[in-house]
Amino acid sequence: MKQKAYRHGEILLLKVSKLPKGLELSKSKTIMTGSHGNNHDIDNGKLYFKNEGTFVFGYLVAKDTNLLHPEHKDETGKAKIKDGVYQLLKQQEYTPNGLIPVID
């Protein structure tokens, strides 16, 4: 069965079964800071940041969570996701010299 995911611009939220142990809860509601001042934020839910390899940079435990961004949103101004645990992945692009994070 395919893993389910939400995409919010250059961030992917991949549904996973459980939260890995030993993560530290972040006080922040910002998933990622945008280089043009446009952050990817959440209104509700818990964020845990941990780099795992090239793509994974943390986890989100979503409960009544909307993803917020000035540009990546639906007509209601929000992007609602289902409750659950998500792995956070940052989009990368291929170059002949290796992968580089998508910078927007």
């Binding site: 395919k2 893993q3 995409r7 793509f55 992007a79 998508v102």
Partner: protein
């Protein structure tokens, strides 16, 4: 409880909205006496000692005057002390009491109508684009000293509140002495203020503000934002460039391979937008490897390939569109198929996308 706006009250929305966009961005007044009195009032209301008030003509002037003051003489960065106090004593309390008064007096539909027609449109015109840009510019110029800890208040950040408050005041829903005083301060031309323990810097409005129809800072003929001190900020559709790159893009002097080599995806996107698309034919061995007519959001996807000098392998790009904004992107890939390229950009092989924004 006001449940419905009259025709006259609806017409007033546009009037107030336009007036506040004008106040925030286009008027020339810079009433130093009024500004100084306003700053001192905010410090006084926050139980803080009166600061020295320094007027600046733009981000460069601020940087110069900030550096010229011996760091100790401006006092501590004041997010914790001045920031919290000023914010709590003036802006937050004013905002909260106004919101409470308005909330108690108007119905949901009136609230939504005013928010959409007055507040949000002023915010879109002034807040998001201009305020963020000025903030970035200020912080960039004195990042080591100011960092993110500077406390601020500003016309460009609070014009939305000004419009919202004055609209409700004009239709006799609310009247608040502190809010009136704060609005008077904003009207005096305090475009951007930075508060420190002993010194408050107040910046005058920019002399040029150019925006596109989406109210993003944008100009193809010169700086989108220009201050009296010579600070010039070049932006295309809200994305900032240095002058050299801005010039190349608006004059479309770059070869497509140069555009594809830009490492910032937003810069690459804008440069491509401005490029004459017939130049794509000049790319050596240009071909479309795969094409999807509808990505699920009504946009096509392609994987395109071409070769460039001094790179052994053909370069491949996933040509796709943002489902929220409709903007077109080219993302480097090693894959030949669209879906594979999209999934691989997140390090995955097979995913079910529930929703994308």
């Amino acid at each position: 409880m006001l449940e419905k706006l009259t025709k006259k009250q609806i017409e007033l929305q546009k009037e107030v909205r336009d007036e506040w966009i004008d106040i925030a961005l286009h008027r020339n007044n810079f009433d130093k006496e009024e500004i100084e009195a306003g700053v001192k009032w905010m410090y006084y209301a926050s139980n803080l000692k009166e600061p020295k008030v320094v007027m600046v003509d733009g981000p460069k002037d601020f940087s110069k005057k900030f550096r010229a003051s011996v760091r100790a003489s401006v006092g501590d960065s004041v997010r914790a002390s001045v920031g919290a106090s000023v914010w709590a004593s003036v802006r937050a309390s004013v905002g909260a009491s106004v919101r409470a008064s308005v909330g108690a007096s108007v119905g949901a539909s009136v609230w939504a109508s005013v928010r959409a027609s007055v507040g949000a449109s002023v915010g879109a015109s002034v807040g998001a684009s201009v305020w963020a840009s000025v903030g970035d510019s200020v912080r960039a110029s004195v990042r080591a000293s100011v960092g993110d800890s500077v406390s601020w208040t500003s016309l460009c950040g609070d014009a939305e509140f000004g419009a919202y408050y004055e609209y409700y005041k004009k239709i006799n829903i609310v009247s608040n002495e502190k809010a009136d005083k704060y609005i008077g301060f904003l009207r005096s031309g305090a475009f951007y203020c930075m508060f420190f323990e002993k010194v408050a810097f107040v910046m005058r409005r920019p002399i040029t503000v150019k925006q596109n129809e989406r109210k993003q800072l944008h100009s193809t003929s010169g700086p989108a934002l220009e201050f009296k001190d010579g600070t010039k900020i070049y932006k295309l559709n809200g994305v900032e460039f240095d002058k050299k790159w801005w010039n190349k893009i608006v004059k479309d002097t770059m070869k497509p391979e140069t555009i594809f080599a830009i490492d910032n995806l937003e810069h690459r996107r804008i440069a491509y937008e401005f490029m004459d698309k017939s130049k794509m034919k000049s790319l050596k061995n240009y071909s479309v490897l795969d094409e999807v007519k509808d990505d699920g959001y009504g946009f096509p996807m392609k994987v395109v390939s071409f070769t460039v000098k001094n790179v052994n392998e053909p370069l491949k790009y996933l040509n796709c569109f943002c489902p929220s904004t409709g903007r077109e992107y080219f993302i480097g890939t090693s894959k030949d198929k669209c879906i594979e390229a999209k999934n691989a950009s997140f390090g995955l092989e097979d995913i079910e996308f529930v929703s994308e924004w």
